[in-house]
């Protein structure tokens, strides 16, 4: 597997889930066990392939694209089939193969109502291709296709296997995201015609000198901003997220938080910033302010929640705020922190959603008042896991959550592109408020732990038979639990991989 020539690896990795989904259609509908096993097999093989690719990746040249495929595709509009992977994409790509595997394993035990494993797992595989594709597509049209491809399976996952208000949530999710992506597409078109290159190639466009005037860049950036900000989601475009998360089945939430939200921030970093540096520079303070509002605001909303899953969903708003703050800093450290925050949030919040889902399986409610505490006494292992992940999520150093948050604040103190001179005071205020957000974050997580974990079980549950962590859950969760610690102790795992790629990215922006 030579990273210079083996373009087939990415194609195979993207095609595997699709082929798997197609083959799954051939399996008999009522043979649930075989369907589930087959899904684990497909995701497992795909993951093994990606893991092998990760091993073969040339880390010495992580700033360059590797495993490249670049062939003509739709000649009529000059679209090309351009795949590749660099240090920025690699961790996200890896994550989008790890989480579906774990989800498939988890589903062998916990299949959401109303069953139908074939459809559910088939959609999940389809989703996987879409997610993974966005991270390796280097053609705007191809990116857009993957970007939209993700919507459909997630729509059905929420709409068919979701909670009581699933219709509302799924339609809202779909329409809101679609709404944003329209503007994004318009911006893509504008860039295509304005650049004079007649190319959709992200690398070419990034390397091009300033496309259009500053005014053009501002407007084009606004379009992309809408598309990506809704996906992230940034305040005030976040309201689809709590609904989608609350209603989605566990696996849907995990993938939504774990990978889907990352597409938005990835889009900012990979497309919006390098192609439109002028627009990004003008927008950066706005992004920063919205990000910090999101941090404070998401935390405040968390404090008001009683539904544990909704709480976790709102916490995503806050955490993605830190990611966006890193982007708003417009310097290497900020981009680094944003990407790290991305990965950390994917791992931690994905794990939190797993836990929330299993909690629902046991208590048949997600209301913290109804659970009423004492979980640490009733099901101690589970309680310990919840504490561990919650503590990671509130940004404790030594666990994954810290580096993204701290890095974003650290980067924002001296934003790039001359922003420090023009908006130095604003950015300092942003750092302070973001730091205050960490206290609120700690507050609601501790409060949640107190509500759920501590104390004695209420009468309702004292006599109930509740399973502690099941073996299949250990299997599905251990990789994430290990990652949470590993990323916290060895931030180099992600920072190191990205370093060169982020430098290259900033150079193309002229910063």
């Amino acid at each position: 597997m030579d990273p210079n020539t083996a373009g087939w690896v990415l194609i195979a990795a993207l095609a595997l889930p699709l082929v798997g989904a197609a083959l799954m259609l051939l399996l008999p509908k009522d043979d649930e066990v075989r369907i589930k096993r087959f899904a684990v097999l497909v995701t497992g093989v795909a993951f093994a392939l990606v893991a092998a690719m990760t091993a073969a990746f040339d880390y010495g040249r992580s700033g360059e694209l590797q495993f490249v495929t670049d062939v003509a595709w739709i000649d009529a509009i000059n679209a090309r089939f351009h795949l590749g992977i660099d240090g920025i994409s690699l961790p996200l790509f890896f994550l989008s193969y790890l989480l579906p595997l774990l989800s498939a394993i988890y589903t062998t035990k916990h299949l959401p109502e109303p069953g139908k494993p074939k459809a559910f797992l088939g959609l999940m595989l389809l989703l996987q291709t879409g997610m993974a594709g966005t991270f390796v597509a280097f053609d705007l049209i191809l990116f857009f296709i993957f970007f939209e491809l993700v919507l459909v399976p997630m729509f059905f996952m929420i709409g068919m296997w979701g909670g009581p208000r699933r219709d509302y949530a799924s339609v809202k999710f779909f329409l809101y995201t679609l709404f944003g992506s329209i503007f994004m597409l318009v911006s893509f078109l504008a860039v295509y015609f304005q650049s004079g290159l007649r190319s959709w190639d992200i690398v070419e466009l990034s390397n091009a000198s300033m496309i259009g005037s500053t005014t053009f860049q501002t407007w084009a950036f606004l379009g992309m901003f809408l598309g990506f900000a809704i996906k992230v989601p940034m305040w005030p475009f976040h309201t689809w997220l709590p609904d989608a998360h609350t209603e989605a089945p566990t696996v849907g939430s995990v993938l939504l938080a774990g990978v889907l939200l990352k597409i938005g921030t990835y889009g900012f970093i990979r497309i919006a910033l390098p192609i439109l540096p002028g627009g990004a520079e003008r927008f950066a303070p706005v992004i920063g302010v919205l990000a910090v509002i999101g941090i404070i605001y998401g935390s405040l909303c968390c404090l008001a929640q009683t539904d544990i899953k909704r709480l976790i969903a709102f916490s995503s708003v806050g955490h993605m705020g830190f990611v966006m703050l890193g982007i708003a800093a417009m310097n290497e450290a900020g981009i680094q922190a944003a990407l790290f925050g991305n990965i950390a949030h994917g791992v931690i919040t994905g794990m939190l959603f797993f836990l929330a889902g299993s909690l629902h399986e046991r208590y048949h409610t997600r209301d913290m008042h109804v659970i009423g505490g004492g979980m640490l006494m009733k099901i101690p292992r589970y309680g310990v896991l919840l504490t561990y992940v919650a503590v990671a999520s509130l940004g404790l150093p030594g666990l994954a959550g810290f580096w993204g948050e701290f890095g974003a604040m650290w980067a924002a103190i001296s934003p790039g592109f001359g922003l420090a001179d023009r908006y130095g005071g604003l950015y300092l205020a942003l750092v302070v408020f973001a730091a205050i957000g960490t206290v609120l974050t700690a507050g609601y997580f501790l409060w949640m732990l107190q509500r759920v974990n501590l104390g004695r079980p209420t009468e309702k549950w004292a006599g109930a038979e509740l399973d502690d962590v099941l073996r299949i859950e250990w299997v599905a969760w251990t990789p994430l639990l290990v990652l949470v610690l590993a990323l916290g102790v060895f931030p180099r795992l992600v920072f190191g991989v990205q370093d060169a790629a982020v430098s290259v990215l900033l150079r193309t922006m002229g910063g």
């Binding site: 208000r165 509302y168 609904d243 404090l303 008001a304 929640q305 009683t306 539904d307 909704r310």
Partner: protein
């Protein structure tokens, strides 16, 4: 005004009158019979226009077969008789639309062809028609025959009574794609009011 014109006028008047009666008659059978008259009149028009073969086909197929088919259809469906039973509430709309259409089209036709006269010579002979049909138009002709066959089979399949079919009125469930606009509750479908809004105590 030539003799042909006169002949045409006579036939046309009969045809027009019969056609109007066809769509206004309050008796179903009368309507079908007026249709037969109309169709026959049209055959006359064809004759005047020296399309002899077509006129005959018109008589055989339409007056002979189609009109009879309609009569059978009317009788088999036991349709009631009378204005209310036969005309829907759209008569005003129908009258307005059709009258406007007629006026408009007539105006256009007169404006465009008002002074055009044609010499009605002897039309193509039947033999020529046959040659053209089987030489130049043979493919459409065959397709048409297939269509007729398919229609035949289809008609039989459709009108055959399946075993166990009761003939009762089926329960028709309207497909509701959204909430009924008349439903007073429809306004607040989706606002997640009150959720998580209960007092949070320390």
């Amino acid at each position: 005004m030539t003799g042909l014109d006169v002949a045409f006028l006579v036939v046309a008047l009969i045809t027009a009158a019969a056609a109007i009666r066809t769509v206004t008659s309050t008796n179903l059978v009368h309507a079908a019979l007026f249709l037969a008259v109309t169709l026959a009149g049209i055959a006359g028009v064809f004759l005047v226009l020296s399309a002899d073969f077509l006129a005959l086909v018109q008589l055989v197929v339409y007056v002979g077969a189609v009109a009879v088919l309609f009569l059978f259809g009317l009788m088999l469906t036991r349709a009631p008789i009378g204005r209310e039973a036969l005309d829907s509430e759209h008569r005003g709309l129908a009258l307005g639309v059709s009258a406007t259409l007629f006026v408009l089209l007539s105006g256009l036709i007169i404006a465009a062809f008002g002074d055009v006269r044609v010499d009605v010579v002897d039309g193509p002979r039947t033999a020529d028609l046959g040659l053209a049909l089987f030489r130049d138009w043979v493919l459409p002709f065959e397709v048409l025959s297939m269509l007729l066959l398919a229609a035949l089979v289809g008609a039989i399949v459709l009108s055959r009574r399946e075993d166990g079919e009761s003939g009762q009125v089926e329960d028709v469930t309207p497909i509701l794609l959204a909430d009924d606009p008349d439903d007073p509750d429809a306004g607040d479908v989706a606002l997640p009011a009150g959720e998580g809004a209960e007092e949070v105590d320390a």
